[in-house]
Symmetry: C2
Subunit: 320 residues, 2 copies
């Protein structure tokens, strides 16, 4: 538990960057997430005299995000963190969105993590990572469901396994060295709740067995640095991706184009519509983003492409 | 492909030992198996003038096993192996059962593996392990279903992941150093087909997610040598074990007694009725077998208990 000594604000203000995340990785629905080096969200907090969390401004969101504190993950996470450190204290919060909204890149998670870490650091870091994580999960629950497969990698970096047993049962997995991600975010809206609504309630037992075999191979591949096996495992999902295909125009064509351009795997990032391809060189990743872009150009759908690398350290203090 | 040069019988006779195996390990239904140092089956083969496989004798089975070649896994595996090496050649085969039948310890798999390896070695080992495995899976298919979660560890040793993608997608996983198994085989019959018939056809999606999270943690635990996490993962099965509990008298009491005696996990071995407990010292493993035995004594059910260690090398040539 935090003591009085370490719950005094250690600074007057601080800014934290938290990265985008790719959840699921194909077969790891609701249990796996990977942090990207960019893009990310940035939260600045400073001490205030009046108690609670005041959201001063949101920038970078094109005016789309609500400033209503109960529906804003940065505010919820900040409030939960503050409550755990010093109930009754007050902070002011600025949120800068680097992440596109509802894109499948863990936008709400990045804001929550940046805010929770910012508040914790403002008070000298009295909370453990798991206590910070708990605040972030509460924030996710307020907007899109109680899951940690985006907040955990955004907080800790790398590839994270969220077992679902308990919030303390979260494990960082090894990240292969030569991992490059090609991403495309087509300009279509896929709300997380809609993406969940299309999922089957039940799956055949033999499908579960195939899925567990694939997830096991994926974890083995990470521990052995076997990128080909990792990709093969990621491509095995028969449960979630097929149901979501109808929500993402051009999905099959985009996957096919990515493989033609040398991608090892091409999967939906989180609930979509962003697609993420696993590549083993930066050159291939560049070629895959180009291939993705050509598909969406042909379909007359705008898109943003990115090449990213894994972020291995998670949320961090901003230098400036 | 084998050439004429290496398909001449390299010896006149050979004996092979193949070990018992514990399939499933709790949450790894149909995808994981662990080889034990003992007990095991032994197959001796020698060249014969007349073509095909002649089963000369079975010992150690108490007269229970069929000598009908099409229903005996040793014969089927020998025939498949011979067919792949030199169709038209002939062998005689002796099978000594060290394993109890229909016990959940991979009895049919051990016989199949011993026979396939024996035939391959008799001809100088022209087949790859995967070709040998294919013959063993055909043998399993003839008696209990096309699955490799017993034959793969019996052949290769250690803990083996059978992805189910393809027979070439089989992976040996690291085995923690301080792993001791306590086993009890109560004198009740649980035919594999009956144990499969009680399984649900479908599982809720959220159950599948929990299961994949647990399997992922199990693989991570093996790679990090974390015995406590391994045990925690093994204990998470909510799909298979609860359905099979009705087939195994005293199951809940036996599990409880094992935990009281210090077991880290207590699970059904394969289709049962053998139970297998994970322990971190030989002393604990001994205490757990005693605890298992007391439960079955109280219930008036005979049982055989064993302490075993993992077999890390798989099937082997017998010295004598």
């Amino acid at each position: 538990m935090p003591t009085e000594a370490n719950t005094r604000a250690a600074r007057t203000s601080i800014s934290i960057y938290a990265p985008a995340t790719v959840a699921n990785l194909g077969v790891g629905f609701d249990i796996l997430g990977l942090a990207l080096d960019a893009p990310g969200d940035r939260v600045t907090v400073e001490c205030a005299d009046s108690p609670g969390v005041e959201l001063v401004a949101i920038t970078g969101d094109g005016g789309q995000l609500t400033c209503e504190p109960a529906r804003n993950t940065a505010c919820v996470a900040a409030r939960e963190t503050l409550q755990a450190i010093r109930p009754g204290a007050g902070i002011r919060l600025w949120l800068h969105k680097g992440l596109p909204l509802a894109s499948g890149l863990g936008s709400s998670a990045a804001s929550a993590v940046a805010a929770a870490v910012a508040v914790n650091e403002l008070f000298g870091g009295p909370l453990t990572p798991f206590e910070v994580l708990r605040a972030c999960v509460e924030a996710e629950a307020a907007v899109s469901g109680r899951h940690a497969d985006n907040v955990a990698p955004a907080l800790l970096g790398g590839i994270v396994l969220v077992t679902g047993w308990d919030l303390d049962a979260i494990y960082r997995l090894p990240v292969p060295d030569n991992l490059y991600l090609a991403l495309v975010t087509p300009a279509v809206a896929v709300p997380t709740l809609a993406a969940r609504a299309v999922l089957p309630e039940n799956v055949p037992l033999r499908t579960m067995v195939h899925h567990t075999g694939s997830v096991a191979a994926l974890i083995h591949a990470l521990h052995t640095g076997d990128l080909a096996l990792l990709a093969r495992a990621m491509r095995q999902d028969t449960v979630v991706s097929p149901r979501r295909a109808a929500l993402i125009p051009g999905l099959d064509e985009a996957h096919a184009a990515a493989y033609d351009a040398g991608a090892l795997a091409s999967v939906i990032s989180g609930a979509g519509p962003t697609l993420c391809a696993l590549c083993d060189t930066p050159r291939t990743a560049q070629a895959v983003t180009q291939a993705y872009k050509e598909v969406y150009n042909r379909l007359g759908i705008g898109c943003v492409t990115r090449v990213a690398r894994p972020n291995l350290t998670g949320a961090r203090i901003c230098a400036d």
